[in-house]
Symmetry: C2
C-alpha cells in the first residue's frame, strides 16, 4: 500500500524539498507542506473515519473518544489519534472529539468542501452501476458527463445524464469542468480514453480497466482491479488450505472455525463510503 505511482528507476522522485539547486526551493507554504505530509495510508483512513462520524452525527452523537471511533472504524486507537494529529489538534484532552468539528476538518482536509465533477467513460454494466449509484457519486461527486462508444447509447439518459460520444470527451470535459474521470471501459480503449480525459482537464482518474495507465506527472491515478482482488483472495484460500492440510486438528475446509471474532480493519484496499448504499437495490435480510 504505498502511495504514489513513482516514476521508474532512478528518475529521482524529487517530491518535497530536494535541494536540487532550485531557486526559491526552501520556503514552501505551510498549507502545502501539511497536505503533503499526510501519509497516503492515513488519507484513506480519514475517509473511513468520516463515514463513521457521519453515522454518529445522524444518530445524534456529539462526542467520541479515540477508542470508540477507532473501534467503529476497525483500527486501533493509537493509529486513529496519529491520523487525526496529521490534520491538527481538534480533540479535547480528557474528553474526546466533537463529532461535528471532526467531520468539518476531515472534509476540509480531503477537499470535500468543493464539489468535484465526475465523468464516467464506458457505460457497460459497471459504468451503468457507477452512473446510477446515487449513494456515492452524487454525494459530493456529481456525475457531470457520461461517455460511450456505442451509438445506441448516445443521448440515452443514464441516471439523468445523457450519454455522449467518446470523441467528444475533450470538449465536454472542458465545458463542464470535469476534474475526475472514471474509466470503466475494457482494457483496449483505456489508455486512449485516459489521454483524452487528461486533455480535457481531468486531473484525477479512477481506473477500473486492467491496464497500467501512462499519465503526465500532474495527474493522479488510482486503480481498482476486481481480478486482482479475487486473485489475492485466491492466494489466501490456497494458503489456508495449505495450513489446514498441515495442522493436525482442523483438516476440513468448511468447519465452523475458531472462536474470537476479528474486526476487519482491512489492511489492503482503502475504503469507506460517506454514507449510503453501494447500489440501488434493497437488501435487508
Amino acid at each position: 500500500m504505498t502511495a504514489h505511482g513513482e516514476g521508474e528507476r532512478d528518475a529521482a522522485g524529487q517530491p518535497a524539498n530536494v535541494p536540487s539547486g532550485s531557486p526559491e526551493s526552501i520556503a514552501v507554504p505551510a498549507a502545502r507542506e501539511r497536505a503533503r505530509a499526510i501519509p497516503e495510508a492515513a488519507v484513506a483512513r480519514l475517509a473511513v473515519y468520516l463515514r463513521v462520524l457521519s453515522g454518529l452525527d445522524e444518530r445524534g452523537t456529539t462526542t467520541v473518544s479515540s477508542e470508540e471511533l477507532a473501534a467503529f472504524a476497525g483500527v486501533n486507537s493509537a493509529k486513529l489519534r496519529k491520523d487525526l494529529s496529521y490534520i491538527g489538534s481538534y480533540g479535547t484532552r480528557g474528553v474526546g472529539y466533537e463529532v461535528s468539528v471532526l467531520i468539518g476538518q476531515i472534509e476540509r482536509t480531503l477537499g470535500l468542501t468543493k464539489k468535484h465533477r465526475v465523468a464516467v467513460v464506458g457505460i457497460g454494466n459497471l459504468g451503468h452501476a457507477l452512473a446510477n449509484y446515487g449513494g456515492f457519486l452524487n454525494r459530493g461527486f456529481p456525475v457531470a458527463a457520461l461517455f460511450d462508444l456505442d451509438p445506441d447509447l448516445l443521448d440515452v439518459p443514464v441516471g439523468g445524464i445523457p450519454v455522449s460520444a467518446v470523441d467528444d470527451i475533450v470538449d465536454v470535459c472542458r465545458d463542464r469542468e470535469v476534474t475526475i474521470g472514471v474509466i470503466a471501459t475494457p482494457a483496449e480503449g483505456a489508455q486512449e480514453v485516459c489521454d483524452r480525459l487528461v486533455e480535457g482537464g481531468v486531473v484525477c482518474i479512477l481506473n477500473f480497466a486492467p491496464v497500467v495507465l501512462r499519465v503526465p506527472e500532474h495527474v493522479e491515478v488510482r486503480k481498482v482491479d476486481l481480478a486482482v482482488e479475487m486473485q489475492i483472495l485466491s492466494f489466501h484460500v490456497a494458503r489456508r488450505n495449505q495450513e489446514a492440510a498441515v495442522v493436525p486438528g482442523i483438516a476440513g475446509g468448511t468447519d465452523a472455525g475458531p472462536p474470537g471474532d476479528r474486526v476487519n480493519g482491512n489492511g489492503n484496499s482503502k475504503s469507506a463510503l460517506e454514507r449510503g448504499d453501494v447500489d440501488g437495490m434493497v437488501v435487508r435480510p
Copy 2:
C-alpha cells in the same frame, strides 16, 4: 500478526507439496512458510505480472527480462525481481525469465490452479455488473450462486445463474461449495449477509459495502470502497490546487500540464485483470 524471522536459505526452489505424512513436530512445512512469507503487497503485484505475462504469451513472446516486464507492469525492475524471488528462482541469469514458466509459477502461488466458486450477494446495479462480468469472474472464478432480497428477482437468471433468496445463503453455499463471497449490498444488510456466508463455508469475502465487517479469525476480507477512492482523489485535487495557487508559473487548473509521462505503477489499490474486459461494453476510440 506474524512475526517469525523468515529463513531465506531455500536455494533450491523446493516444489510446493510437502510430505505431510512426516512428523508433525517442529518442522513447519516449507510451503506454508513460503506462502506466509510473501508480503501482501507483493501478492497483489504478482497478479499484475500475471496479466502482463498472459498478454506476452498470447503475443508469442517466450522470454522477458525483469526490466521489460517491470516496464509493462509499471514498477521498477528491482521490485519486480524481489517479488519474483519470493516465489522461487525461475529466471536465467544473463537471459531473463521464460514467460510460460513464470505464468505457471505465479498461478500456482496464487492458487489459481484450483477454481474458486463465487457467490454474489446483492443483485443491484453493481451485483448485476459483477454477475454478468464474464471477463473476470468466469476466468478461474466461476459464479456459482447469486442472492438478493427482492422477490421479483427470485429465480430470474442473471448471467445464466438464477437468483436465490438471501435466506438460503447458508444452504446454497454449502451445497455448491462456494469459497468466495462478494457482498454488493447496501451497508445495512452487509454484516448479516457476511455472517451467513461464513456459516455457509465461505472463507474469503470481497466487500463492496461501506462497512467494516466482523469476521472470525479464519476468514479473509478485502474491501473495495468507491467512495473512499473518490475521496482520496479529492484530496489530491485539493493538494494540487494548493500547490498551483502557490507555485508562480502554473496557476490555472486545467492547463496542458508538464512534460514527462509517468507510468502509473499505482501504489494504492492493487489491481490487474487476468485478461479481458472490465465490462461487456464496446469502447474503442
